[in-house]
Symmetry: C2
Subunit: 369 residues, 2 copies
């Protein structure tokens, strides 16, 4: 059925909504910021998996986009988004084959390496297929998730890669996932700076050794104004800023208890489907409608005093403290989502609203690995 022109009252629920004006303001603000900081903005599409959002980011000055998965990168390439950096190690036959196909289509495509064995595997596959693969070395910010330690191990890996003619070493990546959500701007600055400096120092060392590296990529929405102030960072890979969520709001900003540098553009719309008890109502949105990886749930939008509680796969309870009839059977409620990345990943399409009306429906590249 046609969705364009529908309003909150007649859309299917649960469904994700994006406020196009808030999103545009977020995109513009981060673009202006990166330009002023003389840092390239390559925003991460893992937060939205949506080519139409990526297109707007690139049109506003982004040098390309980051992707976490080969599927995300393929979806961006299908939409002719250029300048792809896949920020996860592409290991195993399926991913390497697809990385090579993608590189044939967009030769500037980059991915990351954190082990000499992986570099050799990529090099052999590139040789066998007659392509050159562009790589960044993934530096571990001592998180032990992925990456090679900064300093001597990374330099040694860089020297090995330099000897592999089918690999083109473009630089380094260091993503300090821990830093992005440290509460309080000062504490976050200290955490992220300590995590990033060894990687940046390694990048400068590679330059001193005459290696033609030009990319030092890192940073998040939570540290965008912190990491870009570090001498040597050339690219920012922030992602969540475009949609935002409860999680980022809670980390605190430069001036206040809330991080409100960017607006909450993403919500999930739900319907009240049961209303049999005073002070509570059941909505059609539960574990399958909201990200559940945080110790908090979604927050009802523009309904102060109303809270949400998970009640199973397809149900949630909204509660309020008075006996009023303020929420009724059939009401529509918007919720700011707990964590935007896994929340978008629950849906195949986003409804884009302006002035309360659906102006576009955008596909989400999720579900396939």
């Amino acid at each position: 059925m046609e969705m364009l022109g529908r309003t909150r009252d007649d859309l299917p629920t649960p469904s994700p909504l994006v406020d196009l004006d808030i999103m545009a303001a977020n995109i513009n603000k981060m673009s202006r910021f990166a330009r002023a900081a003389s840092v390239g903005l390559r925003p991460h599409v893992k937060s939205h998996k949506c080519a139409e959002i990526a297109r707007r980011q690139v049109e506003n000055g982004a040098v390309g986009v980051c992707a976490a998965t080969i599927r995300e990168a393929e979806a961006m390439a299908e939409a002719d988004i250029r300048g792809l950096l896949i920020t996860s190690e592409m290991v195993g036959r399926d991913k390497v084959v697809r990385l090579i196909q993608l590189t044939r289509r967009q030769p500037e495509t980059m991915s990351v390496v954190d082990h000499v064995q992986h570099a050799r595997d990529l090099s052999e596959a590139a040789q066998a297929n007659g392509v050159v693969l562009n790589v960044l070395i993934d530096i571990d910010p001592e998180l032990h998730r992925s990456g090679i330690p900064a300093g001597a191990p990374a330099v040694a890996l860089a020297e090995s890669i330099q000897k592999m003619p089918r690999l083109n070493l473009r630089g380094l990546q260091c993503y300090s996932a821990d830093s992005s959500h440290v509460p309080g701007h000062a504490a976050r600055k200290k955490h992220s700076t300590e995590a990033m400096l060894p990687a940046i120092e390694t990048f400068l060392e590679l330059k001193r050794r005459g290696m033609p590296v030009d990319i030092m990529s890192g940073g998040s929405s939570g540290t965008y104004d912190i990491d870009t102030a570090l001498e040597g960072l050339t690219e920012l890979q922030a992602g969540s800023y475009v949609l935002m969520d409860v999680d980022y709001r809670r980390i605190g900003g430069m001036r206040g208890a809330e991080f409100d540098d960017f607006g909450q553009a993403l919500t999930v719309l739900a319907t009240v489907i049961s209303r049999n008890h005073a002070g509570q109502a059941t909505v059609d949105a539960g574990y399958k409608a909201f990200a559940t990886d945080r110790p908090f749930g979604p927050v009802p939008k523009d309904l102060p005093g109303v809270t949400y509680r998970f009640m199973g796969d397809e149900h949630g309870l909204v509660e309020w403290r008075d006996d009023s009839d303020r929420i009724r059977l059939g009401d529509r409620i918007e919720f700011v989502v707990p964590h935007c990345d896994p929340n978008v990943n629950l849906y195949d399409r986003i409804f884009c609203l302006r002035a309360g009306t659906v102006e576009a429906v955008w596909p989400v590249a999720r579900g396939y690995a």
Copy 2:
């Protein structure tokens, strides 16, 4: 790319796998059980959202299937699965329009009602569209999620519905979500019996009053052998038994600490993409690959002593206690999922394996509301 004939080594990751032999054994076992108990089996597709699985359930004797959402029910109807019961209240214009369309296609379709206002809304829509809507009254097992209280309130609602010529009251539904996961069979039996008896008593009261009701639906995979022993239950709506998960395994069975009446047919396949530290390796499966609504994560299959820890949207850490090289870069690991329903919901397709080879790829009806 063609996926049929692929093995664990060359499938995309992360991806959900179903072991066809284990699944078939689960389907057969529950079908035989329900037949022996003289209870109709209408299994819930919320656990798998997959028409091909539903087809096998119906071919093995199920009287139809339950669906939690209109989208699931539509997907089943598109695959000519008959006997649909939508177990959530269809409230709001979008859902009611689609319920009517579905009922035109499959007139036996049922949904549930827990409020007289909702019954009136359905009745008016049915009248305006010239259809008869079949309904069950949804009884609240004192969970306050959905449903009307058993006893007088439910009887009054039944009498109101009897006066609405376009609504056909078929009976009651009572789903005690809390009961299904009570640890220990004896405690679970007590919990579920106390929750279900008031609903069943109400069902018998409607019969005594001469109402032509014939369906008393309830039960879960965790209580399948408990609820079906209750005199008066006519239908079992268990779902998870077909795939199983860590969550159900932990509730304990009739004889042991593990509930192993049904086999774990569903896993998620992941790849080791980083391997830079002793006793740990990083896989490409995190919050977007596994359900995160439980206080525990997935369990590596056939790897005793190896544990999993979430490390973000696309990453997880597997850890083991010795310095051995037992897990290497590029290895494939299967994980039993924490909670099957929201886990299946993360994917658009399931790879079906027999003897280690993909025999079929089945679509999952998720993502759209």
